[in-house]
C-alpha cells in the first residue's frame, strides 16, 4: 500500500493494490502513474459514460477459490454498445480481468510471452487459433474506442485511439481476447462465467430491484 499525494491537486491518493501501476485521483480526475515512490500525472480522466453494470469498484468476489476485489476498470465503446474490463485484484497479489458486456461475464488472465499471434489485418471470424494448447475459434472482431479508465490498473493504459479486439471461444467455454492496441498484441485467456458463480458482494444497488 502506497499512500501519497496527487501531483496535480495535492489530495491524498492511495495505491491499495501492491501491483498497481496506475490509478486515478478521485478529486481532480487526473490519471497518475507510479514510478517506485514517485507519482506522475499523465493525463486527465475523461467522462466515463454512464453504465448499467451491477459491478463497481470495491465489489468483492471469488474465482477459482481465490478471493478478489475490484480495483479498477477500463471502459470501451463500439458501434454496438459498450463494455467494461474490471481489474480484479486477487489476495495473492495477482491480477485478472472480468469482462462485462451486456451482463455477460468472462474472467481472463494475461498470458506472458504468448506464441506469435496473427496480425490484426490477418484475422477473421471463424478462423481457428491455438491458444495455450486449446483450439479456439474467432467469434468477433471488434473495432472499439477507449472510453475511460477508473481506479487502479496493473499497467499503464490511457487515451488509446481506435483499437481492435478479437474474441475467441471454444467448445469448453474457454474465452480469449487479443488486444491489438499494443505491439506485440496482448493476449488474455480465461473462461465465460455465470454471474452467480463469482459470489459477488458489495454490488451496486438498483432501485426497484
Amino acid at each position: 500500500m502506497l499512500k501519497s499525494n496527487c501531483p496535480q491537486c495535492g489530495a491524498p491518493v492511495e495505491f491499495k493494490f501492491s501491483q498497481a501501476v496506475q490509478t486515478t485521483c478521485p478529486y481532480c480526475r487526473s490519471i497518475i502513474v507510479r514510478h517506485d515512490v514517485n507519482l506522475e500525472k499523465v493525463a486527465e480522466m475523461s467522462d466515463i459514460p454512464q453504465d448499467a453494470s451491477p459491478i463497481q469498484l470495491t465489489t468483492e468476489g471469488i474465482y477459482n477459490n481465490k478471493a478478489f476485489y475490484v480495483a479498477g476498470r477500463i471502459v470501451y465503446e463500439w458501434h454496438g454498445g459498450g463494455w467494461n474490463e474490471w481489474h480484479l485484484a486477487f489476495q495473492d497479489g495477482t491480477s485478472g480481468w472480468l469482462s462485462d458486456a451486456q451482463a455477460e461475464y468472462a474472467v481472463s488472465f494475461p498470458v506472458k510471452n504468448p506464441v506469435a499471434l496473427p496480425p490484426a489485418h490477418n484475422i477473421v471470424r471463424g478462423q481457428n487459433v491455438r491458444i495455450q494448447n486449446i483450439d479456439m475459434t474467432v467469434t468477433t472482431v471488434t473495432k472499439a474506442r477507449y472510453a475511460g479508465t477508473e481506479g487502479e490498473l496493473p499497467f499503464e493504459y490511457w487515451d488509446k485511439t481506435e483499437l481492435t479486439f478479437v474474441d475467441l471461444r471454444s467448445p469448453s467455454s474457454h474465452f480469449a481476447t487479443i488486444d491489438y492496441s499494443e505491439d506485440p498484441p496482448l493476449l488474455f485467456h480465461g473462461e465465460m462465467v455465470d454471474f452467480d458463480s463469482l459470489k459477488l458482494r458489495n454490488l451496486r444497488q438498483f432501485e426497484g430491484w
Partner: protein, 440 residues
C-alpha cells in the same frame, strides 16, 4: 477509491420526432429505443437523440406480454423491455415469430420467443458448440448432447418495440440455424462479423402465463414445434424390450403349462346307440376317479357318423357330493366330392372339477325320420367316450402372444406420428416440395 455510484433512475425520454413519451427500463445498457407512436428508432446514447430509422408497419402489433411486465424465471425476476417481430420466407410464405427481451440488472439479458402458441426461454451460450453430424445430417454437440439440424433460414426484423442494448433496424437480416434436442434448441445467428449461439428451452403458454402472472389464457399451441418435447414417453427400444420381456414370460408359462399338465387319461370305453331300439336310451358310465387339484375334465367323443348327426345330452356327476355339470354336444359330419362340414369327433372340457368319484350320465339322440336332403346315414352310431383330466389349453397363450405387442406398436406409431409432424416444419420435410432454403 471512487465514490459508490448512485442508483440509476428509470428514465423517460421525449421523442424528437413526434414528442411522444418513451420510457426506458434497460438503464444505461440501452442503445436503441423505439417510439411506438411514430415508429422511430432512436439512438439513446447520442446527445441529440438521433433518429436512426423510421419504419412503417401495416398494423401495430401488441406483444402478448406488455413491455414493463415483470416475471420470475429460474428464481430471478426479469422485466420485459424489448419486443421484436422476425420473419422468414419459406416457399413464398412468410412466417413470423415474436421475441421478447428480458432484463435483470444482475443476471443480464435473456429472451422469450413465441410462435403459434409455443414458447422458448433463451439464453446466450457461454461456449462454442462443436460441429458434428448425426444420421447423415448436420448436427452440433454441446455439453455431451447432440442437437440435430432442423432449419436454416434468413430472418429479417419486421417490427420493433421497446429498447435494446444493441443496434436494431427493421430490415436487419441474419442467417439463422436451429438445431434440436427436445426440449432444447441451439440456435446460431450469423451477421457479418459475428456469430452468436444461444440455447432455448421449450416452455408452454401455461408456464409463461404463470411466470408473468398474466390474465386470461395463453394462445393455444398449434401443431408440433421444433423442440417441443414429445408427449409420448419412452423410446421404441424401451417399448419393444418390455414386449419381449412379456413374451418371454408368456413363453415360460406356456412351457410350464405343457410340462406340468397331467393330461391324464382316466376313462375310455366304446358305446353304441340305435335310434330304433325301443326303451330308455339314457345310461350311466361306471364310476371313475378324478384325482389331484381342481382342474378341467375333458370328454372326447369319437363317433362313426357320416352324412349324419347325433346329439349327446351329458352330465358329469360327483357320486358323493351330488355336484354335477350338465351340457349337451352336437356331433355332425357331412361331406361331398370336394367339401366336408363338421367333424365326427367332439371334445368338451368341464371347468374346475374338484377331486372325487364321478360318473357320466349320457343320453344320445338322433332324428328318427330326418327330412333334410343330406342326412342319409344310418339311424345308429358307435362312439368312444374318452375322459382325461388336467388337459392344457393353449389358445389363451396365443391370445396373449398376439395382444402383447399391440400397446407397444400403438405407442411407437403415435410417437413416430408426432415426430413426423414435428419434422414437417423443418428443412427435411418429406412431403412434396421442400420447406426450407439452404443458404450454403
Amino acid at each position: 477509491m471512487a465514490a459508490k455510484a448512485a442508483p440509476p433512475q428509470v428514465r423517460s425520454l421525449t421523442c424528437p420526432n413526434c414528442g411522444g413519451a418513451i420510457e426506458l427500463r434497460g438503464m444505461a445498457h440501452t442503445l436503441n429505443a423505439v417510439c411506438v407512436q411514430c415508429l422511430s428508432i432512436i439512438d439513446t446514447k447520442s446527445e441529440t437523440l438521433q433518429i436512426v430509422q423510421k419504419f412503417k408497419a401495416k398494423e401495430r402489433i401488441q406483444p402478448l406480454i406488455p413491455l414493463g411486465t415483470r416475471g420470475k424465471l429460474h428464481g430471478d425476476p426479469y422485466e420485459v423491455i424489448g419486443f421484436q417481430v422476425r420473419t422468414i420466407t419459406v416457399d413464398g410464405t412468410d412466417y413470423s415469430w415474436h421475441e421478447y427481451l428480458l432484463f435483470n440488472p444482475y443476471k443480464g439479458f435473456r429472451y422469450l420467443s413465441f410462435y403459434s402458441g409455443h414458447w422458448n426461454d433463451i439464453k446466450p451460450l457461454k461456449g462454442l458448440p462443436v460441429i458434428t453430424e448425426s444420421g447423415g445430417r448436420k448436427a452440433v454437440n454441446w455439453l455431451n448432447t447432440t442437437y440435430k439440424h432442423f432449419q436454416n433460414a434468413t430472418a429479417r426484423t419486421t417490427y420493433v418495440m421497446g429498447e435494446f442494448p444493441y443496434q436494431v433496424r427493421v430490415g436487419d437480416e441474419a442467417a439463422v440455424d436451429d438445431y434440436i434436442a427436445p426440449p432444447y434448441m441451439l440456435s446460431s445467428e450469423t451477421i457479418p462479423g459475428e456469430v452468436t449461439w444461444s440455447l432455448g428451452e421449450y416452455k408452454t403458454g401455461a408456464d409463461i402465463w404463470k411466470a408473468f402472472n398474466l390474465p386470461g389464457s395463453p394462445p393455444p399451441a398449434v401443431g408440433a414445434y421444433a423442440n417441443e418435447p414429445s408427449p409420448h414417453t419412452g423410446s421404441a427400444a424401451k417399448w419393444f424390450s418390455i414386449a419381449v420381456a412379456l413374451w418371454t414370460l408368456t413363453f415360460v408359462l406356456l412351457v410350464a403349462t405343457a410340462l406340468f399338465s397331467s393330461n391324464e387319461k382316466i376313462f375310455s370305453t366304446l358305446y353304441t346307440y340305435s335310434e330304433n331300439t325301443p326303451g330308455e336310451h339314457s345310461f350311466v358310465t361306471p364310476i371313475f376317479e378324478v384325482k389331484g387339484r381342481p382342474s378341467n375334465v375333458e370328454i372326447e367323443l369319437g363317433t362313426n357318423l357320416h352324412q349324419n348327426w347325433a346329439y349327446f345330452n351329458m352330465a358329469l356327476i360327483n357320486e358323493q357330493t351330488g355336484q354335477a355339470w350338465d351340457f349337451g354336444r352336437e356331433v355332425s359330419y357331412y361331406s361331398g366330392s370336394d367339401w366336408s362340414e363338421g367333424s365326427a369327433s367332439d371334445t368338451v372340457r368341464v371347468p374346475s372339477v374338484p377331486a372325487g368319484r364321478y360318473y357320466l350320465r349320457i343320453e344320445p339322440e338322433m332324428d328318427d325320420h330326418p327330412t333334410d336332403f343330406y342326412t342319409t346315414g344310418p339311424r345308429n352310431v358307435t362312439y368312444s367316450v374318452t375322459i382325461r383330466r388336467d388337459v392344457p389349453t393353449y389358445w389363451p397363450f396365443v391370445i396373449a402372444f398376439l395382444l402383447i405387442p399391440v400397446p407397444a406398436i400403438i405407442a411407437v406409431i403415435r410417437s413416430w406420428a408426432f415426430e413426423h409432424v414435428r419434422w414437417q416444419e423443418s428443412d427435411y420435410a418429406t412431403t412434396s416440395g421442400d420447406s426450407g432454403d439452404d443458404d450454403e
